[in-house]
């Protein structure tokens, strides 16, 4: 699903924030100057509270951009500056090319009607309006005639899965359904940017997951740009194409979920991500190692044996043209071929090895890793070999131990045939009658 969402992301930016400051209090401008001069947030006067400090980021069209932080980190303030509910103290916010930090109230209302809609934490539905009228609210404000707006709203109400509930009042709906109304209200306006302020935080975990999945589906279908605020890292990891981590008003890191997990910018982020279910966030592509024990099919048994000898590996992946993964050969079989002077590796290739697509979550790899003696191969949709995941890498990824800095070669399975035997085998002239005798000596 995520891969699908990513395809919608284009290079043009929908929302662009530059050096944004938001300070509440008596003399906000002075406070910004102080902050720019390096005064820390805690050292500001008792009357000034810096909610957002020097935030800059670009959200691309069609992207799900998650802002994550604990309560008080300024994320709710940040999202409210994106549609002008709060005016930035300093810096600029550009929405679809319009700088909204410096426009008249009427222009701002137009931007809210046409460009940015919003979904709220506690749903913020209008209790005195039916589900349908709630969903049609944005269109009503835009001045769409009643019949048309109700028809359009009804369509959206059905899309979010509330068929048959259009005439009910919000109080008659469960929490999850109420938030679907909130979602419908935002979607009905057909703005291309959607702000979601802790939109699923007030829901039960099961319903939350369901809504998250539905959001991804809708996003893939409608290609909205979504800016999603959350304090739940798992939610951020699940939804976000990119995540901005906020702390004390500052953005401490922006990156893909994998970036944030595998390469946290500082101890704070590292501490934050330590409780994440890494197995669900990390994909095969992020943890895989370059495959070293590989032989082209054309290398023949001798080439295969040499590679295995050099790496002390007991098996190797055999690649066809374009690095297409054909299968695996083991040292035992290769050895036999060398002895019998066969040259066609393809006869001994074992195709029953574990392989996974690049975007498979680690959680799905464990069973394969247990069953397969070989590292798991990571392949793309044309079966080209991208990399391998040895068991030790899988374990290391979960524990967040960097694997690539260790000097140990991690190649599985380790060869069980003694080096001397291999050397002897390779040293012998190509069609070698001596081979038979060496076999006799060592066997």
């Amino acid at each position: 699903m995520r891969a699908c969402a990513k395809e919608n992301v284009s290079s043009t930016s929908s929302v662009s924030v530059k050096n944004l400051y938001k300070v509440f209090g008596r003399r906000p401008k002075d406070a910004v100057k102080k902050l720019q001069d390096g005064v820390s947030r805690a050292e500001l006067g008792p009357h000034e509270t810096a909610a957002v400090i020097d935030a800059s980021f670009d959200v691309k069209k069609g992207e799900i951009f998650v802002v994550m932080g604990l309560s008080g980190s300024g994320k709710s303030t940040l999202i409210r500056t994106l549609n002008g509910l709060l005016e930035p103290t300093s810096g600029s916010v550009t929405v679809n090319g319009i700088d909204i930090s410096d426009v008249a109230a009427s222009k701002l209302r137009e931007v809210r009607q046409k460009n940015v809609s919003m979904v709220f934490q506690h749903f913020a539905l209008f209790p005195h309006r039916t589900v349908l009228d709630n969903a049609a609210y944005g269109l009503e404000v835009q001045g769409v005639p009643r019949a048309e707006r109700l028809a359009r709203a009804l369509k959206i109400v059905n899309i979010v899965g509330l068929d048959g509930w259009a005439d009910k009042y919000p109080s008659e709906l469960s929490g999850g359904m109420q938030q679907r109304v909130g979602l419908a209200r935002a979607l009905a306006t057909e703005t291309d940017i959607m702000l979601m302020d802790e939109a699923f935080s007030a829901l039960d975990p099961l319903i939350r997951r369901e809504m998250q999945e539905q959001l991804l589906e809708l996003q893939a279908e409608l290609g909205k740009t979504i800016i999603f605020i959350t304090h739940d890292l798992n939610e951020a990891m699940f939804l976000g194409d990119r995540i901005a981590v906020m702390r004390d008003g500052r953005i401490v890191q922006i990156g893909t979920p994998e970036d944030i997990l595998t390469d946290p910018a500082n101890d704070y982020v590292a501490q934050f991500v330590q409780d994440v279910d890494r197995a669900r966030v990390l994909t095969a592509a992020t943890v895989m190692e370059p495959a070293r024990a590989v032989v082209p099919l054309t290398a023949g048994p001798r080439g295969a044996l040499r590679v295995m000898r050099d790496l002390q590996a007991g098996a190797a992946f055999v690649l066809g043209r374009d690095r297409t993964l054909l299968g695996v050969v083991t040292d035992r079989h290769v050895m036999r071929q060398v002895k019998t002077n066969e040259t066609d590796l393809s006869r001994i290739i074992n195709q029953e090895h574990a392989s996974v697509p690049a975007d498979a979550a680690l959680v799905d790899l464990f069973e394969l890793a247990v069953e397969s003696p070989l590292p798991i191969a990571v392949i793309d949709d044309k079966r080209r070999l991208l990399g391998v995941i040895p068991r030790i890498t899988l374990l290391a990824a979960l524990g967040n131990v960097p694997t690539n800095t260790t000097p140990i070669n991690i190649i599985e399975p380790v060869s069980i045939i003694p080096d001397a035997e291999l050397d002897a085998m390779l040293a012998s002239p190509e069609p070698s009658p001596a081979a038979a005798s060496t076999e006799g000596t060592f066997a």
Partner: protein, 315 residues
């Protein structure tokens, strides 16, 4: 030395009233004329049809807003008033209450909206309301009497001033009590402030505003008797008469009529606000429970108000 000094506050106010009377005489005459015409018109409407027509209309209203029990009670109560020969007085008093309440509401609701929209105006309005509400009601009669001369008008004016406060307070409370996130949602979808007020804040604050209106009417009724002192006519003048003659029978009959009208008006307006409430309170409660939003604020207020009302009315 200290005993010789006296703060001439009363004199200042008295002089101020004198200046007002001198300079703005035409204005006060106009106000007097308007109020008097309004009062006469309403009184005419209430008194020109036979009493049973009014009783049936009142009972019909009662049936619509609450049910047959209330309608039946209304008929019995109003027949008692007819039975003790206080019908004309009661209708005169009712006219005074209706005119005064209507004007008080027309002034207090916009003031309440203003107070809710800006902290500064709230800071100005609040102490004025405190002053108006706690100043003994009789005191208003004195300048009112000077400005508007004897008759029903000073009674109406004093009643308006006295009854203003709860209307403003409840309106402010109601609008401020509307879930901020819901108001924010209005802004987020590009609504103008006026549209938000009209479509979101006022409808959602309505139960609380209705409770305020209920209080305005109850306070107006409590002023009816006091208005009798300045020649306001109606039930008030009979009560005042009973007091001066030590006439227990007349006092009781007139007083009971006030009580009956008070209960009728209270139940009627309480039912109006209650009817709207039933549709929304489940949501408010649920929202408060699941999300711990401070939306439940205004909800208990109307209930408390209805309980207080009859007590206030029998003052």
């Amino acid at each position: 030395m200290i005993t010789e000094f006296r703060l001439p506050l009363g004199d200042i106010v008295s002089d101020g009233i004198d200046v007002l009377t001198e300079s703005l005489r035409p204005v006060f005459d106009l106000i007097r004329f308007v109020l008097l015409s309004l009062y006469d018109a309403v009184e005419f409407l209430l008194l020109s049809p036979p009493f049973w027509v009014i009783i049936l209309i009142a009972a019909g209203l009662a049936y619509v807003v609450k049910g047959w029990k209330f309608a039946l009670g209304t008929i019995v109560g109003l027949l008692v008033i007819v039975g003790v020969n206080q019908w004309d007085n009661a209708m005169a008093s009712l006219a005074l209450v209706l005119v005064a309440s209507a004007i008080a509401i027309a002034i207090s609701v916009p003031l309440g909206i203003l107070a809710a929209r800006s902290d500064r105006s709230s800071a100005v309005i609040r102490p004025i309301l405190d002053f108006l509400q706690t100043m003994p009601a009789f005191v208003y009669l004195v300048p009112a009497l000077i400005l508007f001369r004897i008759g029903v008008v000073p009674g109406i004016v004093a009643t308006i001033v006295f009854a203003l406060a709860p209307g403003v307070r409840f309106t402010e409370l109601g609008i401020r009590g509307v879930d901020t996130e819901v108001v924010e949602a209005g802004h987020a979808f590009g609504s103008s402030p006026w549209r938000i007020l009209r479509q979101i804040q006022l409808p959602l604050a309505m139960p609380t505003i209705m409770a305020g209106i209920n209080q305005v009417i109850m306070l107006s009724l409590s002023m009816v008797v006091i208005a009798g002192l300045v020649g306001g006519g109606g039930l008030g003048s009979d009560v005042v008469q009973a007091l001066s003659r030590i006439d227990v029978a007349l006092g009781f009959e007139a007083g009971l009529s006030v009580v009956i009208i008070a209960i009728y008006l209270d139940r009627l307006t309480a039912a109006l606000s209650g009817k709207r409430r039933t549709m929304w309170t489940p949501w408010r409660r649920k929202a408060a429970a699941t999300a711990a939003t401070p939306a439940s604020g205004p909800a208990p207020a109307p209930a408390a108000a209805t309980q207080d009302a009859p007590v206030g009315a029998s003052v």
